[in-house]
Amino acid sequence: MAELVYAAGIPHAPTLVGLFSRAPSEVQKVVRDSCDALVHDLEAARPDVLIVFANDHLTNSRISAYPDFLIGMAAEHSGPHEWFKPWIGCRDYTAKGDTTVAEALFRGMTRRGIRMNAERRNLNFDDNISVPTVLMDLDKRDVRIVPVLQNTTVPPYPDQRRCYAVGQALADFIRDDLPAGLRVGLLGSGGLSHEPGGSRYYFIDEAFDRWFLDLCCSGDHRRLLDELTIERMEAAGSGGTSELLAWVVVMGAIGERPGRSFGYALHKEFRCGIGAVSWAVNDHAAERR
């Protein structure tokens, strides 16, 4: 029985890196406070492996054959992909991977009726993995990464209830399939409200974002599943806000437990609402079911 020791949600807007220095100080403070808190909790939790659910921005697969979940099984994960690098404006990185856990995840989810795809190559990483990696220096830490790239934008894609069920299966996998003593962290990467590619590219839905962060912190998952519909996310920013489904996977895995957020920032030039959550996951989290 492995231990689920860490769970958090973080946005990955590329502008958090590339335009950070141009943002007002109060906006920078929210970004810094959020990252510092997530890193503090990560260091306290000491996960051996961090499974990162993050949406794929059509970076790895053609629309005609688009997986809902794509596991990266490489021994190392380097990024960002060359075309995305100048856009993000971030440094290069090579994070340690964990082929054994990635293979076990592929096998375990398949056996639990969750269709995932998996590839052994270094996947193409855009802001999805790159921004959390550089903001939290994940490549410089003693933690191995298993990326799971998620379809949250090519219709039809798994809705909040399906993603929550994926998270529940993930918890079972961590509890039953991974070796005793292994410390596992979960990170959901995406959101908050934004509309990449749409006519409302600069639109940020502050009311939605604050509602979502409060809901994440409340631990009320009945409301989460009833109210965080695809329609509501589309209204808050079409094609982008649904990235929060990566957070829903994490919440499905940890169950109803409170979280903490570290402020909220609305900066139009970021083209995305900014806020993060760290959930109170203790060493008994994997045993709760």
Binding site: L58, R62, S64, W87, G89, P196, Y201, S238, G239, E269
Partner: protein
Amino acid sequence: MGLFDNFDPTLAAHDLVQDLKWDPELRRRFQQDEGSVLDRYALRPAEREAIEQRDFRKLYDLGFHPYLGGQLARLIYGNDVDGAIRAVNKLVASLTGKS
């Protein structure tokens, strides 16, 4: 109307954008001789015309995925931090009829 109401996964323009992201040599050719690159894809006449005219509204109405629309705008107008701002503004102007 929602951004995905007309989504058509069969558009060849989707593959064009994917290949341009994945292939630096194709990107260079696209910048030097866009027509020769467009010739390689089974674009419908209206699809090709929309790309040539930088008419994202028309492209979306045909069913183009908006996220790839944002990426196509960056391929055309600039892909670094500041180029992306220019691309966003051009894209929004086209979608809102202000270009």
